[in-house]
Symmetry: D2
Subunit: 195 residues, 4 copies
């Protein structure tokens, strides 16, 4: 457990929650299989920055998940999760949005498959702004407008909606897990919502 990061057990999706028969679904890996795979190839993720937009498409709020880690620190993050074997990027996005925001969030998956950025996490901190102690991960990051009711699930304690100005505050950016403050600024830049 310590080997793969504090909240790994919570982050690897739990098949039962989604009514999936883990034995029959090759996408779900045992902890051992996942660990071995992480020693071989970069792992593909999707991440979503949830937003509320007005009738002109302008972002009004950005949603950040609050999670506790084993060392007692709290950190903020986005919706994120692995792309499973045989799963399309769109399905992975939808599944992880429902996993983290609940079944009534009604996310609007983007019509284009092009992410606003590609985030690369290396296991060693300091090499790049982003890191993930568990693995080399490459993440396709999207902005996803959600219109429904969000109920954080699994290991997320809370979903906080911040205005773009609040989300740009240095203390919020510094609080983001694994260096994701950079990603949050990139998301706001992409939306013309800086400053």
């Amino acid at each position: 457990m310590t080997l793969f990061g504090a909240h790994e057990p919570e982050r690897e999706p739990n098949p039962e929650v989604f009514g999936v028969d883990a034995q029959a679904s090759p996408g779900w890996l045992s902890q051992e299989g996942l660990a071995e795979t992480r020693g071989r190839v970069p792992i593909l993720y999707v991440e979503a920055v949830p937003v509320r937009v007005d009738h002109l498409g302008q972002v009004e709020k950005v949603g950040l998940l609050l999670r506790g880690s084993m060392d007692g620190r709290m950190s903020r993050s986005f919706v994120s999760g692995r792309v499973l074997l045989g799963e399309t990027v769109r399905r992975a996005l939808l599944r992880n949005l429902e996993k983290d925001l609940g079944p009534a969030a009604f996310p609007r998956i983007p019509a284009s498959p092009v992410p606003f950025t590609v985030a690369e996490y290396l296991p060693l901190p300091g090499v790049t702004p982003l890191h993930d102690p568990r693995q080399h991960a490459v993440s396709l990051v999207y902005v996803v407008s959600v219109t429904g009711d969000c109920q954080p699930r699994q290991d997320a304690l809370e979903l906080t909606w911040l205005t773009p100005a609040e989300a740009s505050a240095p203390e919020v950016l510094a609080d983001m897990e694994g260096g994701r403050g950079v990603l949050l600024t990139q998301a706001l830049a992409h939306l013309n919502a800086l400053g």
Copy 2:
């Protein structure tokens, strides 16, 4: 009228339709003012390709407007219109979507201001795939998901919803006004909806 293209009078938005006081709104131009301006600078447009998407964001249908021109030919086009003086690109997009699709179309203006392509129309046919006999126009082109009821207005006779495969048919692409078959293919390419 013949000078600036067959359906110019219908295409320059009519202030009364939108409850605007034309005298007080510097954005609205007289035919003379518009003609003179077209002799001086490229004119900025926005265009929108209306789409219906499923819960995974995949495009199911593309909406094409059918318009008649003075020479009796029918042609297909997108939602389009000028960006007026003092008007933001987002407002221009929303106004032109409501102008062409009616007030109940409920378009979802994109959260990012980046168009999927920049279309350049020159008055001379054949220089580029796109042309506009009235003017040099530069158009920011967006894909816009619409969820409501579309009622074509002004000079549009009909809105036809086609599947991506139907929209890719050579006869549909050839029918597009001003060479916009190229833009339609670009929109489908951007959405991973070719083939």
Copy 3:
């Protein structure tokens, strides 16, 4: 002159510099024609953020132009200029890069016409982060790698090459003309060069 902003005379390209016969080129406007047009439609611009990249495409330096204004203040800006009547966006980009960086800059005009952002300048300060006292301008903004020798021309006093970290400093961002600090952050975000 005061009517259209302090450095307007320097910024409207001078036909003679480029060996153009102004009488025969409809793209060049008299000050009166330009002023009248600015009262009628938004004016289309291109802007370029010049960068030096390494062999992996990573940005090493960002080029900022230093200009003096009539009130004695200095401010920093990007390469920018109008798209002239009949001129393509690509030609406008190249012409303005040569105007501001000299003929030996060897810019690599992007292969795709999609800008990394669309910047909207309104004449009133404070409505949006960006403003231009002279006009309502809409600008297609590109990152352009330059490989040659840059010799600032016209009204630019100096071209300064800054690392991404230096360019992100609050005092540099605050110094940018017309609120372009926001655009500079957007450019760095687009290049994964924040932080």
Copy 4:
């Protein structure tokens, strides 16, 4: 060999060619390790569409690699290869460009990490336009301008430079390996080089 597709042995990069000590480089996998991993997670690839551009950035030629497969058919493809463990996307792009085009191709790796599309290959043909009999692969696809001399290496027999019009011909698109005709059209659409 038949298990992993006809040209798998040639496509998995050969460490010796690049002066890499395979034992010391965790990124290189044995055929067994790769096969096992392909049964567990989607594999991350990069692909590059090589282009020649003119001084305005307009694409003049698109480079297609010709490869023979074991059943005697020839097919066309792009530069492509896995992202190795611990390798950044930029380095993977450069390494695979050098692998397929030789050391003197002088590719210009894009300054932005955002691909023009994300291609998803599933092992079953017909589910999506793209397929790869060996695996579930997710590929970040870039357009890369190359300025030097290209010498196809490894299993590529030839590099053919086609104009955008030639590359759009139905017989060329149909010849592309694994359904990549769709990707080629998407690349041309992204570059405003259709029609």
